[in-house]
């Protein structure tokens, strides 16, 4: 997994609350293999009209923000379906950080597992950042080590689960760590079989 430390990039405001994972990637696109890339499906029905043409007013369609690697949104970003494809769509588009006042829990876990930083800011700070970006498209810097977002000398703190922070900073993957716990797992299952004999499904 690609580590995330500090990123200075174009940030696109998405001034909407409750951008759910059905909007991040509509279900009809999820039959494709990841190898084909999911970036073109990101926010598909907000970016494109039914005839396939771009909706001109939508922020990601504006030349200033088209290449954004950071997006700033309102509360409850990524709520809903557990589809990791929502994260694939963001990552394959080129987005590496989402800034918002709150995130769907499953989305945030999925994001971290793919090197995408969910940076949580206060509701007021999110509004200020959105206004700033709307007034004058610019780059912002997201520093995960320092846990702040800076632009033109204005600094905004953000929060992220400390474990997720370490995972992102180092690009760690859980699986190798877990496989090193084989002995503890074996011990647990041996004890558990006595404590909860009913936990294994009856078959046949």
């Amino acid at each position: 997994m690609q580590p995330f430390q500090c990123l200075t990039a174009t940030a696109c405001p998405l001034p909407y609350a409750n951008i759910d994972t059905d909007q991040l990637i509509p279900a009809r696109f999820m039959k494709r293999s990841r190898a084909e890339g999911y970036g073109s499906f990101l926010l598909h029905d907000m970016r494109f009209s039914s005839d396939g043409s771009e909706i001109p007013g939508f922020p990601l369609n504006r030349p200033d923000w088209r290449n954004a690697q950071i997006v700033v949104a309102r509360r409850n970003f990524g709520a809903g379906s557990s589809r990791e494809a929502a994260v694939y769509a963001l990552v394959d588009y080129g987005v590496r950080c989402v800034v918002a006042p709150s995130f769907g829990d499953i989305f945030a876990s999925n994001a971290v597992n793919n090197g995408l930083l969910p940076a949580c800011v206060g509701e007021h700070d999110a509004e200020s950042l959105i206004r700033l970006l709307e007034a004058d498209a610019r780059e912002i810097t997201v520093d995960l080590q320092a846990q702040n977002i800076t632009t033109n000398g204005v600094s905004t703190p953000f929060t992220v689960d400390p474990v997720w922070r370490m995972k992102l900073l180092n690009g760690w993957d859980d699986i190798d760590l877990t496989l090193s716990q084989g002995e503890a797992i074996a011990q647990f299952t041996a004890n558990d079989a006595k404590k909860r004999p009913w936990a294994v499904p009856r078959t046949g």
């Binding site: 059905d22 990841r34 309102r74 589809r83 999925n110 699986i175 294994v200 499904p201």
Partner: protein
């Protein structure tokens, strides 16, 4: 809120402790997973296993179920090749790993969150995961069920474990008696409207109180199912005699003496009297009315007796903008009475409301009446379908003019091609009124099965209560 291991514990604390393998210094805990369900969307995770040349660690605890993409009209029709490919991939991935599959042609096939309980795969005290956010449903049995993403699915497939940080605990108590015609869906939507679609984020929810105790297992499943729509990853009800009676004799549940011994353990799974919760919410059941959604988030829910909100009267400019956007998408006018909203079709189905009791509630209203709009009824499993047909419910739906089809996720998510057409308005028993959820440009109003039936026979959003009273 920190609690000493010897102090009073919540039900969730007890489930957490019984699954904790190791806890790291940074408070991440490795948890044992008792059941893992995989559906067609699991191909991303199985591909991750292939990259590592890994196999499923515990096929005996892993169950495949075809539901998201399955066609609901099966006889004599060819299946879209892209959808057939999704079904084939699941078949291949499960058979290569020795995982039992409830596939398209299995007589027990259905929606994972209906089949799990029905087969007795869902039991109290289990930790259950699935790459589906509505895995919270299984909490109805006092199990700890939660949805995970593809990376986590791959992790569980390879290790039968997951790393988690302990969430906060929230208790939602509903005391008193529900009025006739009002059910679990109305309770759940009332809660979401009250606390918001992110109101329970980071929390494990326990539902308590006399109105919850009075719910059947079907009602509890609906309630726990919708926990995720309030942002909670899991929601649960402590097991009681209702739970035990439901489970006795289920195919995968313990049998005979083993069952009775297990039941003793299960009935001890409850929050201690003095257990502390990080947050408490209390609702009065007698104040709950039939609820419908008007907007594009489940939090946009109101009693049917009220009107569409007016953004001009909302002081918070962000909230007002959100309402304006929702009304534009839904093509509604501020102040419009909810009962004046005409609909184009209805859908009865989904992991939220497709169980036998849901079908009975809808059929009771539809019986002897005609629907003014077309609609689809998709039972939650092939066994629910069989039961409904034995009771003659299918005939009631057909006589009313609705289409009776096979089971699957169907029009809740539209993956199998059952979609609401652009601009059409659907009264739906499902769980999400998100923009485009039921198809591009679809307008969804969420409500209970009885309320969907009322909308069908009147052609507009309607209060089911007078229609029930006419019958009694």
């Amino acid at each position: 809120m920190a609690q000493s291991p010897s102090g009073p514990q919540t039900l969730f604390d007890k489930l957490w402790d019984s699954h904790a393998i190791v806890t790291r210094e940074d408070e991440q805990t490795l948890l044992w997973v008792d059941r893992h369900f995989v559906h067609e969307g699991s191909f991303h995770a199985f591909n991750k296993l292939k990259e590592r040349s890994a196999k499923v660690s515990r096929p005996d605890l892993t169950f495949g179920i075809a539901d998201h993409y399955v066609p609901t009209r099966r006889s004599g029709r060819s299946i879209d090749p892209a959808i057939q490919n999704m079904l084939d991939q699941l078949e291949r991935n499960t058979s290569e790993n020795g995982v039992m599959l409830f596939g398209l042609n299995d007589p027990r096939q259905g929606i994972v969150h209906v089949v799990g309980p029905e087969q007795g795969l869902t039991l109290p005290g289990l930790l259950m995961v699935c790459g589906d956010s509505h895995t919270s449903t299984h909490g109805a049995f006092g199990a700890w069920g939660f949805g995970i993403g593809a990376s986590e699915v791959a992790h569980v497939l390879m290790t039968q474990t997951l790393w988690q940080r302990k969430p906060k605990r929230m208790r939602i108590s509903v005391d008193g008696t529900l009025a006739p015609g009002i059910g679990a869906k109305d309770i759940a939507l009332s809660i979401i409207a009250r606390i918001g679609a992110d109101g329970a984020q980071g929390h494990a929810v326990e539902y308590a109180g006399s109105a919850i105790r009075a719910l059947s297992m079907e009602g509890r499943l609906t309630l726990c199912n919708l926990s995720i729509e309030a942002g909670a990853r899991c929601g649960m009800v402590a097991p009681d005699e209702t739970t035990i009676n439901y489970l006795r004799g289920r195919p995968f549940a313990p049998k005979g003496e083993y069952f009775e011994r297990a039941a003793e353990d299960w009935l001890r799974l409850m929050s201690d009297e003095d257990a502390q919760f990080d947050r408490e919410i209390v609702l009065d059941a007698s104040e709950i009315e039939p609820v419908v959604t008007w907007g594009v988030s489940p939090e946009d829910a109101l009693p049917i007796t009220t009107a569409v909100p007016d953004p001009e009267s909302i002081p918070d400019s962000g909230k007002a903008a959100q309402i304006r956007d929702a009304l534009a998408y839904m093509d509604l006018k501020p102040g419009q009475k909810l009962t004046d909203v005409r609909i184009d079709r209805v859908f009865i189905g989904s992991c939220t409301n497709s169980r036998i009791e849901d079908l009975r509630a809808a059929a009771k209203v539809l019986s002897g009446r005609k629907a003014k709009v077309p609609g689809l009824v998709s039972p939650g499993s092939s066994l629910v379908k069989q039961q409904a047909e034995a009771e003659g419910l299918d005939q009631i739906f057909r006589d009313a003019g609705l289409e009776w089809v096979e089971s699957g996720c169907s029009m809740c998510v539209g993956m199998n091609g059952d979609i609401v057409q652009p601009g059409e308005r659907c009264a739906s028993t499902t769980n999400r009124n998100f923009k485009g959820r039921q198809g591009p440009g679809a307008r969804t109003h969420l409500m209970s099965p009885a309320m969907v039936a009322a909308a069908a026979v009147t052609g507009h959003l309607a209060d089911v209560r007078p229609l029930i009273e006419e019958r009694s």
